[in-house]
Symmetry: C2
């Protein structure tokens, strides 16, 4: 497939994929994709990443139910970063982070420390039970 | 500095840094930072990345004038991705991409091809003359 060959995969066969919430514009998370993950994402219409820690495809939400419906996929000028516009679904919509927060980017640099600036919306224990 | 040691730098000493426009929420680009780049960013209040292709610090806008004023810096749950909220400045504000476009993510997957969906706001030849 030509379009997938336009992507400049890194030496490990991966590219970063940024997930941005379609409605709010909030950046929810960044994960990695390989060719298989991107093809599955396009087929399913839901985000499938490559989990580097687990060494396997990771259909986001497979354990938590917090699936990401993909509205569009963009590629940057260098061809080595993807941007997904998503709807963050689930029993409790809008929770992307495994800590039960809206966004994985919940720590902000303030006075030389990382301050937690987003609330936990759901107890992770009850997400992954 | 403790806060910088909280970051999980990769084996090359880098982390991805996503630049998001503060007002619009648009994702402008993703580049890489090492410790020096992040420290310079905090000191200057303007985005300084590590250019992997040039192998040196890259003060964004040093050639184009398209500087990014940094409003906040966030860290994700895994501690290995940064999110910068920026104001995209310059003679023509709002141009982050070296192609003269607003965002580097100007190509969208449509019918198995990457369609250009953002206009060129300024001829790159006149940006880098």
């Amino acid at each position: 497939m030509d379009w997938i060959d336009d992507i400049r995969w890194d030496e490990a066969g991966l590219v970063p994929a940024i997930a941005q919430e379609a409605d709010s514009g909030d950046v929810l998370m960044m994960a990695w994709m390989n060719r298989d993950a991107l093809q599955r994402t396009v087929e399913l219409g839901e985000a499938v990443y490559w989990s580097r820690s687990r060494g396997r495809l990771w259909h986001k939400g497979e354990a938590s139910g917090h699936v990401q419906k993909v509205e569009s996929i963009r590629l940057d000028c260098d061809g080595d970063v993807l941007l997904l516009r998503v709807r963050q679904l689930g029993h409790e919509p809008g929770i992307a982070c495994h800590t039960g927060r809206h966004s994985c980017f919940y720590r902000e640099l303030q006075d030389q420390r990382w301050a937690s600036v987003e609330p936990v919306l759901k107890d992770p224990e009850s997400i992954y039970r």
